[in-house]
């Protein structure tokens, strides 16, 4: 299971380098070297300088040489000595200010972000004030009225420079708070100090380093500026005061300007550069790198022709043919071959599915069909033929003329695939006018009618993408792809993230077009079930190659390659003793325990929810009503399913039960104890008896913790054994989810999605809770993993008597697992038909 995800991780790593890139590394080393040198000069100043800074060591305006490395200024002081002693002052002030301002900034930022409320408001108002008033004038007036001497300079600079890091750290803390693993810890009843120490601080700490560096840079420059204006201590030599004197005594009118003016400025520049280089490297380590740019793939050969009318040339040929395609990412030792020897053929009116796991290379094939790759990728071999013409024999202009006209793309990520600052109808018109000189009114009319035909009403045509839901954006993208009547459509995951009704609408639309217009479709997806419903032929991709291909009926009955069989869920038996945990697709599954179907066994409910109501205010428009008088009960050792469409309030219910949100109205009782009006502390101790398993296993585990620490966290929070965390409980929990001892020290990024979710389940059961709320625990996983998770949940109930509230939008899995099924629709709960 882990192997198949490896491809995805390798690919992602090639595109998005972790840690320091080559530039960052070089900059970091250079910065460190510069700063070490300057620090050495500052520390050993008395040894390096031949004279003291103020001594009138020689005749005025002497050029360099003869015991005076940089000559003398107009008073006869040795410039080199002054420079060396100046390093002490300038650097010392820079470091002192950086430490002072960062300390204040960290304290304020952390406290504001964690405590929120009045303290947060007050401090952020102060930050606003400090940041909006222009720095230098403020510093000037402060120094003039309150200051004198270098200490006051440090204090005044520190009192102004803390504001930016405070604000940045606060927003980091706020975003960390919302992260899954912090929410999970809160759901487990962790106290604020636990959250701060174990979750927030480790996540935020690396970001402090770039802040310190940035402040040091500002401090050095500001000290120089203030000294230049005469606000430094004139008796103290710093690089800034040297320039002040140079300016005041009109240095550039003398012959000495070269070695009088240049060295201090260069010294300041060198110090600031060293700090900046170090800061660049520090930021690169702590912030994620940018993903690669989209570029048109370089055509392998080029001719000198002009692009011309293309439509006629494409009639009557195979819409899309891919032969022997090879695409690689990266260079040198990090090079990854994403796609290798891929052959595909989409005929007229044919729907060809391309199915594989994430990282199998299918999106690369999809975009390469249009001649596009994401840097640092490049097409190193093979042929892409659209309408019979090989893309590599065409000029870039001709390839561009084909895109959107003969072959069109519906990209994977509907949420972000539309230009956020232009109305949707304008974007469709753009697609029309890119290929033909169509007057605006006509283009608008055509765009409008197509939008209506995919279900976007006229009054929404001028709206911006962010005003549409995910499903509607997907439909806009489909309209945009079809607007020039292409011969072949490449649809990358067109139904992922859509609920079932919208998904089937989309698939129906594609099917209709296939029949009406002879549209060829390359349907790329990770969901074999969905593709099998509409495709004529399917190609299975695994680790960059097509491993099996054939008609749908043949694949269903006679699949040969293990990957195909795995995706079909055939023979997915648990490796441990045969518990009959296979995914029995038709009819009743052994997962449901016969004797418990029906009402509450053994008397008394584990969970009582009565009349719960909750609504959320929206930025514009009516508030969203998530729950309206919702009622449900979960009995002992019972598995209750809660179905509903996505976005219908199921997660809200789960969050209210676990205590992450407060209901507007209604009653909540756990094991007989009323939860609605209890104190925080009592709530937290009751939280030991229930646990929420989150939907996204990539979010709910803290990256900086090992598996042992993650699973042990409930023990640490609730301390059933005092301070000891019993390792055998942890191991037992891991064994129950079929993870052996080798996982103990691993970190989340070394685990696949399925393994992560199993760790999350182990964490859920380590305290033997009476109730586990599983919020879509398997919806982001593939079919075989889904079956495993369901089996594990059933085992939980069988082995430990745990009650489970299983929340999902997938009716099939609910029917397989649950004793009772309820439906949440429009805020109300009712039994399933």
């Amino acid at each position: 299971m882990r192997r198949s995800e490896e491809g995805g991780r390798r690919l992602a790593r090639a595109i998005r380098a972790d840690g320091l890139g080559p530039i960052g590394r070089r900059f970091g080393k250079a910065g460190a070297a510069i700063l070490t040198l300057l620090a050495g000069v500052a520390v050993f100043a008395p040894l390096l300088a031949p004279h003291s800074a103020d001594a009138l060591a020689g005749p005025p305006l002497l050029p360099p040489g003869d015991g005076f490395l940089l000559g003398t200024n107009d008073l006869g002081q040795d410039i080199f000595s002054r420079l060396v002693f100046g390093a002490r002052t300038s650097l010392a002030i820079g470091v002192a200010v950086a430490l002072l301002a960062t300390t204040i900034g960290v304290v304020v930022g952390l406290s504001a972000g964690l405590l929120r409320g009045a303290w947060d408001q007050a401090t952020m108002r102060v930050v606003d004030i400090v940041l909006t008033i222009p720095f230098l004038p403020l510093l000037i007036v402060l120094q003039v009225f309150l200051g004198g001497g270098p200490l006051s300079l440090v204090l005044i600079l520190g009192s102004v420079l803390w504001a930016r890091p405070a604000r940045e750290l606060r927003s980091q803390v706020l975003s960390v708070r919302e992260r899954g693993h912090v929410q999970a810890a809160m759901a487990m009843g962790a106290s604020s100090s636990h959250l701060l120490g174990r979750h927030v601080f480790p996540a935020v700490a690396p970001l402090v380093v770039p802040q310190v560096v940035r402040i040091a840079r500002s401090a050095i420059l500001l000290e120089a500026s203030l000294s230049f204006l005469g606000l430094g201590d004139p008796t103290l030599t710093s690089w800034g005061t040297m320039l002040f004197h140079a300016q005041a005594r009109s240095a550039y009118l003398t012959d000495a300007w070269l070695w009088w003016i240049l060295p201090p400025g260069l010294a300041i520049g060198l110090a600031v550069l060293g700090v900046a280089l170090l800061g660049y490297a520090a930021e690169e380590i702590t912030r994620p790198r940018l993903t690669g740019s989209w570029v048109p793939a370089v055509p392998l050969t080029a001719t000198g022709r002009q692009p011309h009318a293309v439509a006629a040339a494409f009639a009557g040929s195979v819409p899309l043919e891919v032969e022997d395609l090879e695409v690689r990412y990266g260079t040198g030792p990090a090079e990854v071959t994403a796609v290798q020897r891929v052959h595909l053929r989409v005929g007229r009116g044919e729907v060809v599915g391309l199915v594989g796991e994430s990282g199998s290379g299918k999106t690369t094939v999809a975009t390469a069909s249009l001649g596009l790759v994401r840097q640092p990728g490049r097409m190193v071999g093979g042929v892409v033929r659209v309408g019979g013409r090989s893309l590599s024999t065409l000029e870039p202009g001709e390839v561009r003329a084909i895109r959107g006209r003969i072959i069109a793309l519906v990209p994977q990520n509907a949420m972000n695939a539309l230009n956020p600052v232009r109305p949707v109808i304008a974007q469709l018109m753009e697609a029309i006018q890119a290929h033909a000189a169509v007057p605006g009114a006509q283009a608008e009319a055509r765009a409008a009618s197509l939008l209506v035909s995919v279900g976007i009403a006229e009054d929404r045509h001028d709206a911006f993408p962010h005003e549409f839901s995910g499903g509607m954006r997907q439909r806009v993208l489909i309209a945009m792809a079809l607007i020039n009547d292409p011969q072949v459509l490449v649809a990358d995951e067109p139904t992922t993230g859509l609920d079932e009704t919208t998904a089937s609408t989309v698939l129906e639309l594609l099917d209709r077009l296939r029949v009406e217009r002879g549209l060829g479709v390359l349907l790329v997806s990770h969901d074999l079930d969905v593709v099998m419903e509409v495709a004529d032929r399917i190609a299975i991709m695994h680790r960059g190659r097509v491993v099996e291909e054939g008609a749908v009926s043949m694949l269903r009955d006679r699949a040969r390659h293990p990957e195909t069989r795995r995706l079909l869920g055939v023979g997915a038996v648990r490796p441990s003793e045969g518990r009959g945990g296979g995914s029995d697709r038709g009819g009743r599954s052994p997962l449901r325990s016969e004797s418990r179907s029906g009402s509450f066994a053994e008397g008394g409910c584990v969970l009582d929810v009565e009349g719960l109501s909750k609504q959320f205010a929206r930025r514009h428009g009516e508030p969203i009503v998530a729950l309206r008088d919702a009622t449900l009960h979960v009995g002992r050792s019972e598995i209750v399913g809660l179905l509903g469409r996505s976005g219908e309030g199921k997660t809200t219910l789960a969050r209210i039960v676990i205590g992450l949100e407060a209901p507007d109205a209604g009653r909540l009782a756990f094991d007989g104890s009323d939860l609605t009006h209890t104190s925080h502390r009592r709530r937290r101790s009751l939280a030991a008896g229930m646990h929420l398993v989150f939907q996204d296993p990539y979010e709910s585990l803290a990256e900086h913790m090992s598996v042992t620490e993650i699973v042990a966290e409930p023990l640490r929070i609730h301390r059933p054994f005092g301070r000891a965390t019993h390792p055998d409980w942890i191991e037992e929990a891991l064994r129950a989810v079929d993870l052996d001892g080798s996982f103990l020290d691993r970190r989340p990024h070394e685990l696949s999605g399925g393994e992560r979710q199993r760790v999350a389940l182990a964490r859920a059961i380590v305290l033997r809770p009476r109730l586990v709320i599983a919020d879509e625990p398997a919806s982001l996983l593939d079919a075989p993993l889904r079956a495993e998770i369901l089996t594990l949940l059933a085992d939980l109930r069988d082995d430990f008597g745990t009650s489970i509230l299983y929340i999902t939008h997938d009716e099939g899995s609910a029917r397989r697992l649950c004793d009772r099924i309820l439906v949440l629709s429009r805020g109300r709960i009712s039994p399933a038909p």
Partner: protein, 326 residues
């Protein structure tokens, strides 16, 4: 929601209030005799009777809250006191100096932003290549040098050594012939200060533009733009830059404060008769009323610019626009 806009305006008003109050409190918190800050060194030679008279005249014998109210009232009508050095109304002096500062400030911001954006886009589209690497390195180096020092070097090279351009002042000693001649002379004297300001502020905007364009180039809507078959130039301007420039706009407007601070230093170097140089002169002469007046004006100016930028941003980014109830 208008409520959000009111709340933001309220925040700006809060900052204005804080700046004005700070201005009020500083001479009263400063060590020593407050009269020193109001009438200068002459305060030492006054005898008690005269002292009381002067205190009464400045209202310093009244309770603090009353002084505060009087102070705010004075501000409303534009009374910022009398300059110790010039003996004239502070507001009158400020008004004289503002145009010169604007003369070098506005072109600097425009040129610097355009240049930085162009270079940033160039570097981003050649990411990792020689052009990108050298641009980033050179920018980091120039950005590390103090801007006022760059001005000094420019003077030494262009004005003193090469004698191409004048080195100080805004107008020639002898007025040139005709309005055009005068305008040309003024222009000549503005070149070096503007060049210095542009070089000083280029680095930060360049790095931001580069990062912003890099992010935009990797976005899915850029893929879509290519996939639609749009021409490369259209993709660049209509899709990449259109979204990438939003953070640049925000950043430039947020940096008015530091640009104005830079003007203080640069006008000092070039003896340019703007607000910045006025601050320097006031500091050197310990002309407190003038300094305070300049501080209030610059603070208010920056705050107003920030508020204006905030208010105009939604025009460019529909995602943050208020919507009327549908």
């Amino acid at each position: 929601m208008a409520a959000l806009r009111w709340r933001r305006s309220g925040q700006y008003l809060l900052v204005v209030w804080a700046a004005l109050t700070l201005n009020f409190l500083l001479p009263r918190m400063a060590p020593g005799d407050p009269l020193d800050y109001l009438i200068g060194p002459e305060a030492e030679i006054l005898d008690d009777g005269q002292r009381e008279a002067v205190l009464a005249e400045f209202g310093l014998d009244r309770p603090l809250p009353r002084q505060y109210v009087d102070y705010l009232g004075g501000l409303v009508v534009g009374d910022l006191g009398i300059s110790l050095r010039y003996g004239r109304s502070v507001s009158a002096i400020l008004v004289e100096r503002i145009p010169w500062t604007l003369l070098i400030l506005v072109p600097s911001i425009l040129i610097s932003t355009l240049l930085a954006t162009a270079l940033g886009t160039l570097a981003a589209s050649r990411r990792g290549g020689r052009a990108d690497g050298s641009l980033v390195a050179v920018t980091l180096m120039i950005d590390s040098l103090p801007a006022f020092w760059i001005g000094m070097v420019l003077i030494a090279v262009f004005a003193v050594r090469l004698q191409w351009l004048p080195s100080f002042g805004a107008v020639p000693f002898d007025p040139a012939d005709g309005a055009l001649g005068q305008a040309l002379e003024i222009g000549r004297r503005a070149v070096l200060p503007i060049a210095t300001m542009v070089i000083g502020s280029l680095g930060h905007t360049f790095l931001l533009a580069r990062a912003s364009v890099l992010t935009a180039l990797g976005e899915d809507h850029v893929l879509m733009a290519h996939a639609k078959g749009l021409r490369p130039r259209r993709v660049l301007f209509g899709h990449v830059l259109r979204t990438a420039l939003l953070p640049v706009y925000t950043s430039v407007t947020l940096s008015f404060g530091s640009i104005l601070g830079g003007a203080v230093l640069i006008e000092t170097v070039f003896a340019y008769p703007g607000l910045g140089r006025l601050v320097f002169e006031a500091v050197a002469a310990r002309d407190y009323p003038l300094l305070q007046g300049a501080f209030v004006l610059t603070a208010l100016g920056v705050i107003a610019a920030n508020w204006l930028a905030d208010a105009t941003y939604p025009r460019f980014d529909p995602r943050v626009r208020d919507m009327s109830a549908s």
